[in-house]
């Protein structure tokens, strides 16, 4: 195993910016991206010319989209790399930007997540291997199967799972960048259009467009460029993993997260009890319950009880999905992972306004993508 982020040069998130996640519409990717980039540059207090490398996280934009957008900031000849990792494209772009700064390759790097709605054509459909359910399976159907098995194994009912959507829509109602900004009652969530198994439409993330940007820099860059050290948030851990074979009886879905989290906590020399903010891959309500368990907030099977206790609300023991998550903030593939970093940074800076979780010092961003891949980042507010 090579160097971990924590054993290289310190990396800080120094600037964040978003274009609201929204229903697919006529806004071009250039407008989505430039809005978020200019916002992040202003937040950092630096010029575009200071950025030395750019990683563009996008699953659907198409070949070489970055240059056609970044030239309008003034062509500087910086290194541009497009990063695709399905839903985890943004998280992976962020990781690469962090590695650039940690390794000393760049002093300032930018991770830009952008996606517009477009037909999804996964690589897995081109392997030449047939499937009994290939033409009928959907992500919602897959997680409906996961939900049914979970409900049976842990004696949890549909209402307990639906409660995740109530919390996350409530959070997003206070997030001006969220796709959905409307509180929902449990009854509304349960009565929404049934999609598959116990999952109704409000328990499935929407298909959004949007953009999210995080600028990372070294301590040297912060000093040289006169950035505000008191608003810089340190990236203490970055772990990227892919498919693992679970032991018999274990869920591959959660075991991958559990193993990735174990490495991330070890790298940061921390544990789940120290996390104040967690943003997870809650594309479907059932996922938030399972990942809070796999991330160590509670024992396996206890996720619904943890949620019902209020522990994962803003103001509880550890705020989970304070942005509204994929369910309510939205899920444009490329931006999502970076949007998690944006939310955690706001929280750790104490700038989350009505969504502020008190005394937030540590945050964890968890993302998965088709592959499956799993990436976890841990951020820390320096003293």
């Amino acid at each position: 195993m090579g160097l971990t982020l924590s054993r290289m040069r310190d990396v800080f998130v120094v600037g964040i910016g978003l274009h609201r996640y929204q229903r697919p519409g006529p806004t071009t990717y250039v407008e989505l991206g430039l809005t978020a980039i200019r916002s992040a540059l202003a937040d950092a207090g630096i010029l575009w010319q200071a950025v030395e490398s750019a990683y563009i996280g996008t699953a659907l934009l198409g070949m070489g989209s970055g240059g056609s957008m970044l030239r309008y900031l003034g062509a500087t000849g910086l290194a541009i790399t497009h990063v695709e990792n399905a839903s985890a494209s943004g998280s992976t772009a962020f990781r690469q930007a962090c590695i650039d700064v940690a390794s000393g390759t760049s002093d300032v790097a930018i991770a830009i997540g952008i996606d517009k709605a477009a037909p999804v054509s996964p690589g897995s459909s081109m392997t030449g291997i047939e499937s009994l359910t290939g033409s009928v399976m959907t992500p919602a159907a897959m997680f409906a199967l996961v939900a049914q098995e979970y409900m049976h194994k842990h004696d949890v009912n549909a209402e307990q799972i639906a409660a995740v959507a109530v919390k996350n829509h409530n959070n997003a109602a206070q997030n001006p960048f969220a796709h959905f900004q409307k509180k929902r009652t449990l009854e509304e969530v349960l009565q929404a259009v049934p999609i598959a198994g116990p999952l109704t439409r409000l328990q499935c993330c929407p298909f959004s467009e949007g953009a999210a940007v995080a600028i990372v820099g070294s301590e040297k860059a912060i000093q040289d460029l006169g950035m505000d050290l008191s608003r810089a948030i340190r990236v203490v851990s970055s772990v990227s993993t892919s498919e693992i074979i679970p032991e018999a009886g274990q869920s591959a879905v959660t075991e991958q997260t559990r193993q990735c989290a174990a490495r991330a906590y070890k790298e940061a020399d921390m544990g789940p009890d120290q996390m104040d903010i967690i943003e997870v891959h809650d594309a479907f309500t059932i996922e938030e319950l399972m990942y809070t368990e796999a991330l160590g907030l509670c024992e396996e099977g206890e996720g619904a009880r943890l949620l019902a206790s209020g522990a994962t609300k803003i103001g509880g023991r550890c705020a989970v999905s304070p942005s509204g998550g994929l369910l309510a903030m939205g899920h444009p593939f490329g931006p999502t992972g970076i949007g998690q970093i944006v939310e955690i940074t706001r929280q750790l800076r104490g700038e989350a306004g009505p969504r502020q979780h008190p005394d937030a010092h540590y945050g964890l961003a968890h993302m998965v993508g088709i592959g499956p891949v799993c990436l976890i980042h841990i951020l820390q507010k320096p003293n």
Partner: protein
């Protein structure tokens, strides 16, 4: 007019001397794992080379690990609702498959299921497309 399997690499529509329609799988000679679906790329458990993968027949019996009724599908040619399930085959592989049942109340996690061929729509040449599904096995006497 022929009956054709919707996935011809995975099962046959007419087999003689079999109580149940079988599924085509592979067995890795390196690690002993039984794999489904069949492929000639390599063993996804031990990474064994394709020449270690031997064709095997899976008997079409198993246990229902999960199931769900799908109410919405993005493609207009897919009729909803339909039921899908996760089945643990007797030989080991855990697979996703369609479930044939009148309503999902008949189903429960842990129920024994067995294979059944269900006729679907006709293709452009008039052939009947056949799906390999699972259905609750009769209770033992």
């Amino acid at each position: 007019m022929n009956r054709l399997p919707r996935q011809s690499s995975l099962f046959f529509v007419s087999e003689k001397g079999k109580d149940l329609p079988s599924l085509r799988g592979r067995r890795c000679e390196g690690c002993g794992t039984v794999l489904f679906p069949p492929q000639d790329y390599g063993c996804d458990r031990c990474g064994g080379a394709p020449d270690q993968l031997r064709p095997v027949e899976l008997k079409g019996k198993g246990m229902l690990k999960s199931f769900a009724t799908v109410h919405q599908h993005p493609s207009p040619s897919v009729k909803t609702p339909f039921v899908i399930g996760t089945v643990q085959l007797d030989e080991g592989p855990v697979i996703e498959a369609m479930v044939a049942c009148k309503e999902d109340r008949e189903l429960s996690v842990g129920k024994n299921v067995h294979a059944v061929l269900i006729e679907g729509e006709r293709d452009k040449e008039g052939n009947i497309m056949v799906d390999y599904c699972f259905t609750p096995a009769p209770e033992a006497e």
